[in-house]
C-alpha cells in the first residue's frame, strides 16, 4: 500500500511540474507542427523524420539547406530553360553570362525549388535567410512570383512573433512581398527602389544584390550597378567574384561611353 501511495505521489509531482512549467518558448506549437505541414520531399522523409524525433531539427534543416543549394546549383538535367515558349539547350542555360539574362529565361526550371525551401523552413521555421534566398530566387531568377508569394506567406506566418520589431526579418520579408507586387503590376522602377531598400538593410543574400545590380544595368543606372558589383567582389563569395570582375570591366566601359 505504501509503495502505491509513493508511486501515486510521484506521478502527481510529474503531472504538476508539467502543468506548471509549460514550454516557455512555444516554438513548437501547432503552427510549427510537422503534421500540419507534411514534409514536401518524399525522398528525404526518413532523414527528416529521424532528425525531428531525435530533437535534431535544426541540424537536419542545415542538411536540407545544403541539399537545396546543391539542387539549385546543379544542372537539373530533366528540365530545360525556356522563355516565352522558346526552349534553350543546356549549354545556353549554363553559359557564363547565363545569370545575367536569367530574369528572361527558364520559367519551369528547378520545378521543386519551392519544395526544397518549404522543407527547410518546416524543419526550422525561424530560418529567415531561407525565405530571403528562396523568395529572391523564385521571384527574379526563376520567374515564378506566385510561388515566391507562397513562400512569403509561409515566412510571414512563421515569423509573426517579430511583428512588433520594425527592424525584424518579418518586415524585411514584407519588403520582398511589396517588391513582388510591384513586379506583377509592371512598376519596375518602384520594384528596383524596394530591392534597393532590401539590399541596404544588409540582410539580403548576395544573389539578391546581383539581381539588383543586373536590373540597374538593364535600366542604364551603371554607376549604381558598379557599386554593387564592387561590393560583391569585396565579399569574396566565390560564386560571384569572377562575374563581379567581368561586370566591373563592362560597366566601367559603359560609364565611359555614357560620358
Amino acid at each position: 500500500m505504501r509503495k502505491i501511495f509513493i508511486c501515486l505521489f510521484l506521478v502527481i509531482v510529474l503531472i504538476f511540474i508539467n502543468l506548471v512549467i509549460k514550454n516557455p518558448v512555444g516554438l513548437y506549437d501547432e503552427k510549427y507542427s510537422i503534421f500540419i505541414h507534411r514534409l514536401p520531399l518524399e525522398k528525404y522523409f526518413v532523414v527528416d523524420s529521424v532528425g525531428f524525433i531525435l530533437g535534431l531539427r535544426k541540424f537536419v534543416s542545415d542538411i536540407a539547406w545544403i541539399q537545396l543549394l546543391q539542387y539549385y546549383g546543379g544542372s537539373a538535367p530533366e528540365e530545360h530553360c525556356c522563355s516565352e515558349g522558346i526552349c534553350f539547350t543546356e549549354d545556353v542555360c549554363h553559359a557564363e553570362d547565363y545569370f545575367e539574362h536569367i530574369t528572361k529565361i527558364q520559367p519551369g526550371k528547378y520545378k521543386r525549388f519551392i519544395d526544397y525551401c518549404r522543407r527547410v523552413v518546416i524543419l526550422d521555421p525561424l530560418y529567415s535567410y531561407v525565405y530571403f534566398y528562396g523568395v529572391g530566387s523564385l521571384a527574379w531568377n526563376l520567374e515564378r512570383p506566385d510561388e515566391a508569394l507562397e513562400l512569403v506567406d509561409i515566412g510571414l506566418r512563421n515569423l509573426e512573433f517579430q511583428k512588433e520589431d520594425a527592424n525584424s526579418d518579418y518586415w524585411e520579408l514584407v519588403k520582398y512581398q511589396q517588391a513582388i507586387y510591384y513586379k506583377l503590376g509592371g512598376k519596375y522602377l518602384e520594384m528596383i527602389d524596394k530591392l534597393k531598400e532590401i539590399v541596404d538593410a544588409g540582410k539580403a543574400p548576395n544573389m539578391v544584390k546581383a539581381i539588383l545590380a543586373n536590373l540597374y544595368k538593364k535600366y542604364g543606372r551603371y554607376e549604381e550597378a558598379l557599386l554593387i558589383w564592387e561590393e560583391l567582389l569585396l565579399s569574396g563569395d566565390p560564386e560571384y567574384v569572377e562575374r563581379a570582375k567581368k561586370q566591373i570591366l563592362q560597366l566601367k566601359k559603359l560609364i565611359e561611353q555614357k560620358i
Binding site: 509503495k3 509513493i6 508511486c7 510521484l10 506521478v11 509531482v13 510529474l14 503531472i15 511540474i17 508539467n18 502543468l19 512549467i21 514550454n23 516557455p24 518558448v25 512555444g26 516554438l27 513548437y28 506549437d29 501547432e30 510549427y32 507542427s33 510537422i34 503534421f35 500540419i36 525531428f52 524525433i53 531525435l54 530533437g55 535534431l56 531539427r57 535544426k58 541540424f59 534543416s61 542545415d62 542538411i63 539547406w65 545544403i66 543549394l69 546543391q70 526550422d124 525561424l126 535567410y129 534566398y133 512573433f161 517579430q162 520589431d165 543574400p205 548576395n206 565579399s235 569574396g236 563569395d237 566565390p238 560564386e239
Partner: protein
C-alpha cells in the same frame, strides 16, 4: 558524503577508462569535424550556422549514446563481475551506491561536453567566427537533458535488469520527449475519450525535452529572451529526483 564522492569519482574513472568511451569520443570529434566540411558545401551561404548547429547536434548525440550505453553497461557489469558485493559489503547504503553511480555518470558527461565543446570552439575559432553567450547556455541545456536521461536509464536498468530493454525504454522516452507538441496535436484529433485521456496522462508524465531544447532557437533573440534557465533547472531537478527516488526505491528491495 565522503563515500558518495568516492563512488562518483570511481565511477568517473571507470567510465573514462573504457575503450568504448575513447572510440565514441574520437568518433564525435570526427563528426564535429564533418561540420567543418559541411560548411564548405554550403559555400558562402550561412556556413557559420552550419558549423555551429552540426557541432552542437553532435555533442548532444554523443552525450546521449554515452549516457545510454554507459549507464546500462556499468551497473550490470558491477552485478555480473560481482564487484557490487564488495562495495555494498562496506558501510555504504544502496541509495549512496545509486547516487554515486548517477553523479559519476554526470561527471563523465561534464568531462565529455567540456572536451567536445573545446574542440568545437577551436574549429569555430579557426574559421574566424565567434559564438555568443547563448552557445554556452545551449551546452548547459544539453547537460540538463542528460541529467534526466541518465536518471531514467538508471531506473530502467535497475528495475528491468536487461541492457537492451533499458536502452530501448530510454531511447523511446527521449523520442517521445521531443515529440510532445506533436503528441498534443494527435491528442486533439482523437475522438475516443478513453484513448484521449490515456495519451493525455502519458503526455503529462513523460519529460518534455523540448522545454530544454535551447539548441533549436539559441540564435533567435526573441525566443531566447523567453527562455528561463531557472525553470529549466527546476524541471530537470524534479524529473531527475523523481527517477532517482524510484531507482533507489526499487534497488533497496532488489535481490542481487
Amino acid at each position: 558524503m565522503e563515500n558518495l564522492f568516492k563512488i562518483s569519482f570511481f565511477s568517473l574513472k571507470e567510465n573514462l577508462k573504457t575503450k568504448l568511451y575513447l572510440v565514441f569520443l574520437l568518433f564525435s570529434f570526427a563528426l564535429i569535424f564533418i561540420g567543418l566540411l559541411l560548411t564548405g558545401l554550403s559555400g558562402f551561404e550561412q556556413p557559420q550556422r552550419v558549423l555551429l548547429n552540426t557541432g552542437i547536434a553532435m555533442i548532444e548525440l554523443f552525450c546521449l549514446i554515452l549516457v545510454l550505453l554507459n549507464s546500462v553497461e556499468l551497473f550490470l557489469q558491477d552485478v555480473e563481475t560481482k564487484s557490487i558485493y564488495i562495495v555494498l559489503s562496506k558501510p555504504i547504503s544502496r541509495t549512496k551506491y545509486v547516487l554515486g553511480k548517477y553523479f559519476g555518470m554526470l561527471l563523465t558527461v561534464i568531462v565529455s561536453i567540456f572536451i567536445m565543446s573545446i574542440f568545437h570552439l577551436l574549429l569555430i575559432k579557426i574559421s574566424k567566427w565567434y559564438v555568443s553567450k547563448e552557445y554556452f547556455f545551449t551546452i548547459f541545456c544539453i547537460f540538463l537533458k542528460m541529467c534526466i536521461v541518465s536518471s531514467i536509464t538508471l531506473f530502467a536498468v535497475v528495475s528491468m535488469t536487461s541492457r537492451s530493454v533499458a536502452a530501448i525504454v530510454s531511447t523511446l522516452l527521449w523520442i517521445a520527449g521531443h515529440f510532445t507538441n506533436e503528441l498534443m496535436f494527435i491528442i486533439k484529433k482523437i475522438k475516443v475519450d478513453v484513448v484521449k485521456y490515456f495519451f493525455k496522462f502519458f503526455y503529462y508524465i513523460i519529460p518534455n525535452f523540448q522545454l530544454l531544447n535551447l539548441k533549436d532557437f539559441f540564435d533567435n533573440q526573441y525566443f531566447v529572451s523567453q527562455f528561463s534557465l531557472l525553470k529549466a533547472l527546476l524541471y530537470t531537478c524534479v524529473y531527475s529526483s523523481v527517477f532517482l527516488f524510484l531507482t533507489c526505491f526499487v534497488f533497496k528491495d532488489k535481490d542481487l
